[in-house]
């Protein structure tokens, strides 16, 4: 009896030792992979950026729920850009230098992106940028997850000209994206034998658009290309309707008006029947999209989902693939690995073009319905190869245009507000 107890004890001890040893080797606590999230939690951009931040967190949460990456959890460090370029620049620096994050997901406005770009290039870091933009930029330290001009603006203009006619009115916020976009549109219109009949810019936080509406009424363009960002859209669309311009009279094709912004509109009537060009609509009918919407709304409530949110969500997943593929969270390795990744995102196949570090994206044009959702009325058959520099312009040409803007704006990417807000803001036409 005693002997059998001895034998059993020996076996138990052996098994326990092996278990303990393997646990020792296996369960060594690995530090989390730190990632930065850089968005405006406050300020005029908060309305747009907070949902994007949430989508980013949602994706990180999903990855962590599936065991993290390389056996490590992903720790998100969320910082507030406060809708202010200087803050973006400072916080980006802090994330990179102090927090030593592996990657940063963030920025909405091209102004903020262009402000932080030198930081990323200086530290050879990596930024996933989730929003469509004006193009004319190609940094090895930025992965452009939003549409390049040829993936949103150019197809939309082409579509609108064919649909509504060749007379175009351009309307935008007074900062770099609308200026560049409109510059491109004008080039395209020329190439396509169309014409731009009017062009107006309003600063952020400026809501008096009456005069502009009146100009539109007077000019009667076939359609309006809207590059207003932020809550100025509310005033714009409301004023438009108040002036009696319906979507049929003056169809507006918006480039920065997503489902999130639609939700903030005061009146459905203000926007129903207008258009927007995006790569993603919440209304896309695919399994991936349904899963995405359900996961998001489960966590953040019945909020609308928009293109930048989807791009932000996809960014995290693509980055995760790159980490898995590179088997490291080292920024440089991921930068090399990311260009070979692709995923089946809610919007469809999403892959990164190696040459431009932009995503291949399908273009969609949707009409706003009364439920504040888009109905896709046109889409490209396949994802479009990203072309940050459209063929109609040359790179030197583009660079010169941008530097001129920058210099004119006192080395800012936004037109500085010189006068008090009740004053008329200058209607600045492009120099080119």
């Amino acid at each position: 009896m005693k002997k059998s107890i001895f034998i059993i004890t020996s076996i138990c001890i052996t098994i326990l030792s092996i278990t303990a040893l393997s646990l020792f080797f296996y369960q060594k606590e690995l530090p989390p992979i730190k990632v930065g999230i850089l968005h405006s939690m406050t300020g005029s951009m908060a309305i747009s950026e907070i949902p994007v931040m949430q989508a980013t967190l949602l994706a990180i949460e999903k990855i962590n729920a599936h065991g993290g990456l390389l056996g490590r959890q992903v720790e998100a460090i969320v910082v507030d850009g406060k809708s202010d370029e200087i803050t973006f620049e400072r916080e980006a620096k802090r994330l990179i230098i102090e927090e030593k994050v592996s990657v940063i997901f963030g920025c909405w406005t091209s102004a903020s992106r262009k402000t932080v770009l030198p930081i990323f290039e200086k530290y050879n870091h990596l930024l996933f940028y989730p929003v469509q933009y004006e193009g004319l930029e190609q940094s090895p330290n930025i992965i452009y997850m939003g549409a390049a001009p040829n993936q949103q603006i150019i197809p939309a203009v082409n579509w609108a000209i064919q649909r509504f006619g060749p007379r175009i009115y351009l309307m935008g916020s007074d900062y770099v994206f609308p200026h560049v976009a409109n510059w491109l549109i004008k080039k395209q219109a020329n190439a396509l034998h169309a014409s731009v009949v009017g062009e107006q810019y309003i600063p952020f936080n400026h809501y008096d658009v009456k005069k502009i509406i009146q100009e539109i009424k007077r000019l009667q363009p076939d359609f309006i290309m809207n590059t207003i960002n932020g809550d100025a859209n509310i005033a714009f669309f409301h004023a438009l309707r108040e002036e009696g311009l319906s979507a049929k009279d003056a169809p507006v094709i918006s480039f920065s008006l997503g489902e999130a912004e639609l939700a903030h509109m005061h009146d459905d009537q203000d926007i129903t029947g207008h258009y927007a060009a995006w790569n993603y609509f919440q209304s896309i009918d695919s399994q991936e999209n349904r899963d995405f919407i359900r996961a998001y709304q489960k966590k953040f409530g019945a909020q609308p989902l928009s293109d930048p949110m989807e791009a932000a969500w996809a960014s995290v997943h693509l980055w995760a693939k790159a980490v898995k593929s590179a088997q490291t969270d080292n920024t440089e390795s991921i930068r090399q690995s990311i260009v070979h990744q692709s995923i089946l995102a809610p919007e469809g196949v999403l892959s990164i073009d190696k040459k431009t570090q932009h995503a291949w994206k399908k273009v969609r044009i949707g009409i706003i319905r009364a439920n504040r959702q888009f109905e896709t009325i046109w889409s490209s058959k396949n994802p479009i190869r990203p072309a940050p520099y459209p063929l109609i312009i040359s790179k030197p040409e583009a660079d010169m245009f941008l530097s001129q803007l920058y210099e004119n704006w006192d080395q800012h990417w936004t037109q500085p507000v010189i006068k008090k807000k009740n004053n008329h803001f200058p209607m600045q036409k492009s120099q080119l």
């Binding site: 034998i7 196949v349 459209p390 109609i392």
Partner: protein, 929 residues
């Protein structure tokens, strides 16, 4: 299971081996498995990584290929020559392709475009105007000069890339698909031709499919089985768009259904997902694969290699590793086996030795193990010592055992002897022994029982004890038995009881019975001891008889003694009176009467003394035949006339030592008794003498009551033909005062007995009622001669001064009579009325006293003691002893002590005077010594 465990536990070797088997081997295997799987995993990952790199490289190559072509196209579109060529073709095309102008333009620019085509390895080059007309192509296939908006090929990929280029102001490419004009798969790159900010047309190039497939089918790094699968996703299938290594005709011919089990990699790849893993490929082979998406072609690409080949090297290592582990395990196990054997060998030897010791083997040696330098050695040493001690102990034990066996044997022998002894006691016991159970059934018995009751053993065993009990006692027995069983009250307990037994013959006989309880094996039995006391009773009766006679004899002797004293006084005084009354006739007559009566009384006393055996004997050698012949006449006159006496006498008899008078009296009494038995009838009395040799057996069988010595005896038989006696009478005839006659004192036969016994003889009576009686007397033959002292008759003794006599007698009459008689003869007398006084008187007057007359029987000091005391004072003083007993009885205690003489009472004064004077005269005794 338990048996297996038990058999394992029987040996340390087994246990160690089991330990090795269940711990070390699984541990090694687990470790190996772990190393194995880790190694496998690493290899797997390495392979996947390498495949991934390959896939990435391949995708890069393809992308690069497309990008290059895009670049080529864009570059070509920007060249002024191209724009000029386009404008030329555009204008001339409107005149017709056969126009001179078109021909001229074509001949101008054809070499230019052909050179590019050849240089960049394209299949065809197109110039398309803004309206969609293909205004130039090199190959002039069917598509040439058709309109891509309205013509036959408006749905072709060429049409699509054209439209997209123009609308998006961007170069783009199509994917590969079957192109009818070329009759093969084709893909196109197109770019807008922008002149002064306006899109004037499109430049398109058709890929050289073979060249493209060459790019894809470059399988460097994919070994022998590696393969690149490229496919395009359709709603329900993936169409393979490039040849396969293992199926060169696969392009656009082979498709994989979405639902196929092996569709996942290519489906996921073509749907934009990247992935990797071990898969089963379209051939059914297991392969390691990496898949990804090629955006420019919207294709999925699977780069795979058969696992067999991929892990070939690993397989080789695996085999070696397995072999190594196997060999190590085997070697390790074998070494462990050897080691374990080596370790356990001494233990096994020790075990074997222990077994040998246990089995009792003698020559057991542990020397081979003592040198071992570990615990086993210590154990062996201890064992060796233990063994030695054990052997010593064993020897000692053997000794003890032998001794014990010896003593056991002796003890057994003794016990056996004891048992035999006890058995013999029981067997040979003349007492009957039997056991009986509580129901009165006989359980066992000894031969004596059979002998006593005259049964065979088997007739009694198991029978009721009542079989041996006479009818009249059976009830009593049953009562006693029942009473005991009821209340344990014992009627018999260790006590013997004289009752009667019943022989087989029905004879009832006296037995001595004792019953004891005994417990054997918890059964209670009764042990009965039975003694046949038939003979004992007879003997006892005889002894009692003899004792009775003896006591009567003593009584008679005592009476006769006292009587003699009295008669001595009477006779003495009568004699003295006669002397004094010599002159008085009347008185003399009276005195004579007194004397006569006294003498008759003395005769009676003599008879009584004779009966008691203490009568005065005058022993002489007598020939009985002679004596009888002399007595015949006397006898004949003493009996009835009708009775004749027949003498049958032996002439050769040896003499007997006897008192003649007493013998005569015996014969006379017997003859008279015989004649009285015959009574008035005529009869014969036969007297027979003979000499017989008597041995002890004869004596015991006939005269068992007497203490006779073996030797020569004279047998006298007196037989009559009279009435005879019954048994009862025979039993009493020797008792004094028993008589069958109305007259007579009943002392005749007892006197005869007394006389015969006084002569150390024996008497026996044989009588049968109505037939007659025979008395048989044995008398011992004489061994010595006797001279007879004849009592002298009266002689007158003259008075003269003769000295002083001390008379010691407790009887005053005797004392006075003796004193008077001696004074008559001239003696002075000193009287002492007992022994003490006598001794005192003798001390006082020893100078005067010349003799002492000493009575034998006295209170205080008796005659003997007084004699000794006197002799101490004066040795040579003559002492004359007087006694009523006969001389022999009286003097035998004084033989050799200087007794001067003896005088038997009753004595006459004259006899006394003469005796004293004679003794004083001669100084010596004259009685027989």
């Amino acid at each position: 299971m338990k048996n297996i465990l038990a058999s394992i536990r029987k040996s340390i070797f087994n246990e160690l081996m089991v330990l090795v088997t269940i711990i070390i081997i699984p541990l090694s295997l687990a470790l190996s498995a772990y190393v194995f799987s880790s190694f496998n995993q690493v290899t797997h990952q390495l392979q996947l990584a390498s495949l991934g790199s390959l896939a990435t490289a391949k995708a890069n190559t393809i992308n690069q290929y497309i990008d290059n072509h895009l670049n080529h196209t864009e570059t070509l579109s920007m060249i002024p020559s191209t724009k000029m060529a386009f404008k030329g073709f555009d204008l001339s095309f409107q005149q017709g392709i056969d126009s001179k102008e078109y021909q001229r333009i074509q001949s101008t620019y054809d070499p230019f475009f052909r050179r590019y085509l050849a240089h960049w390895n394209y299949y065809d080059l197109f110039l398309i105007d803004a309206k969609g007309n293909i205004i130039y192509s090199i190959k002039h296939e069917k598509d040439f000069a058709t309109n891509l908006h309205t013509g036959a090929y408006r749905n072709s990929d060429l049409s699509k890339v054209f439209q997209q280029s123009l609308n998006m102001l961007q170069s783009n490419n199509s994917t590969f698909s079957f192109y009818e004009p070329s009759q093969e798969a084709a893909a196109f790159v197109a770019t807008p031709i922008i002149d002064q900010g306006k899109a004037i047309g499109v430049l398109a190039l058709q890929f050289d499919t073979d060249a493209f497939y060459d790019v894809i089918n470059n399988l460097i790094g994919l070994g022998q089985t590696g393969e690149i699968v490229i496919g395009q996703d359709f709603p329900d299938k993936v169409l393979l768009t490039a040849p396969l290594r293992h199926d060169p005709d696969a392009a656009f011919q082979r498709s994989i259904s979405h639902s196929a089990s092996n569709a996942r990699p290519i489906r996921e790849g073509s749907q934009g997902k990247t992935g990797s893993g071990i898969i089963i490929d379209w051939r059914g082979e297991e392969a390691i694969a990496v898949w990804q998406y090629i955006p420019s072609l919207k294709w999925g690409m699977v780069v795979k290699i058969d696992t067999e080949e991929a892990f070939n090297q690993w397989g080789y290592i695996e085999k070696n590793l397995i072999g190594l582990i196997g060999i190590s395990l085997l070697l390790g196990s074998f070494l462990l086996y050897l080691f374990t054997r080596h370790v356990t060998k001494p233990l096994r030897q020790l075990t074997q030795i222990s077994h040998d010791v246990a089995a009792g083997k003698q020559s057991v040696k542990v020397d081979g193990l003592l040198h071992i330098n570990n615990e086993v050695g210590v154990l062996a040493n201890a064992f060796s010592k233990m063994l030695q001690q054990s052997q010593h102990s064993k020897l000692a034990l053997e000794d003890t055992v032998n001794r014990l066996a010896e003593s056991n044997k002796t003890l057994d022998q003794r016990v056996k002897e004891q048992i035999e002894h006890i058995q013999a006691i029981v067997e040979y016991s003349s007492d009957g022994i039997l056991t009986m159970d509580q129901h009165g059934e006989i359980q066992s018995l000894n031969p004596a029982i059979c002998h006593i009751f005259n049964y065979e053993a088997h007739e009694l065993l198991g029978q009721k004890i009542t079989k041996l009990i006479p009818e009249e006692y059976r009830g009593q027995h049953q009562d006693a038995l029942q009473q005991y069983q009821r209340n344990g009250q014992k009627t018999l307990n260790n006590q013997s009881l004289e009752i009667e037994g019943l022989r087989k013959s029905g004879e009832v006989f006296p037995i001595d019975l004792s019953i004891n309880e005994m417990h054997v094996d918890s059964n209670m039995l009764y042990l009965g001891t039975i003694r046949d006391i038939t003979n004992y009773n007879i003997k006892r009766e005889k002894i009692e008889h003899t004792q009775r006679l003896e006591s009567l004899g003593v009584l008679a002797g005592g009476i006769a003694h006292d009587f003699n004293n009295l008669l001595t006084v009477i006779l003495g005084n009568a004699a003295l009176a006669k002397i004094k009354m010599q002159n008085n006739q009347d008185a003399d007559d009276l005195l004579n009467n007194i004397e006569t009566a006294s003498e008759r009384a003395a005769a009676l006393c003599k008879q009584m003394l004779a009966y008691s055996g203490k009568g005065k004997l005058v022993i002489e050698n007598i020939n009985l035949t002679t004596l009888l012949k002399e007595m015949v006449n006397l006898l004949e006159v003493s009996i009835q006339k009708k009775i004749s006496i027949h003498l049958d006498l032996s002439e050769h008899l040896l003499p007997i030592s006897a008192d003649t008078a007493q013998i005569q009296q015996v014969i006379m009494n017997l003859v008279i008794n015989a004649s009285e038995a015959i009574d008035d009838k005529s009869g014969i009395i036969t007297i027979h003498t003979e000499l017989i040799d008597v041995d002890l057996s004869y004596i015991q069988s006939i005269y068992s009551q007497d203490d006779l010595q073996a030797g020569q005896y004279i047998n006298i038989e007196v037989s009559d033909t009279g009435c005879g006696m019954d048994k009862k009478t025979q039993a009493h005839i020797f008792e004094p005062f028993f008589t069958t006659k109305f007259t007579g004192r009943g002392l005749g036969m007892s006197a005869i007995l007394g006389i015969v016994r006084g002569h150390q003889g024996a008497i026996k009576v044989y009588s049968e009622k109505g037939k007659g009686t025979t008395f048989k007397i044995l008398l011992p033959c004489s061994s010595e001669s006797h001279h007879v002292i004849k009592t002298s008759h009266t002689e007158v003794i003259e008075y003269q001064e003769r000295g002083t006599i001390l008379v010691v007698d407790d009887e005053e009459g005797i004392r006075e009579m003796a004193g008077m008689a001696l004074k008559e003869a001239g003696f002075h007398i000193i009287y002492a009325n007992d022994g003490t006084e006598g001794v005192k008187a003798f001390k006082k007057h020893q100078k005067d006293i010349c003799a002492v007359l000493l009575d034998m029987t006295m209170p205080n000091l008796n005659g003997e003691e007084v004699f000794r005391a006197i002799k101490l004072i004066q040795t040579n003083i003559p002492v004359i002893l007087s006694s009523g007993y006969n001389e022999q009885d009286a003097t035998k205690r004084f033989i050799g002590k200087g007794l001067a003489g003896f005088i038997q009472k009753p004595y006459s004064p004259h006899a006394l005077q003469k005796k004293v004077i004679d003794i004083l005269k001669t100084g010596v005794t004259n009685f027989s010594e």
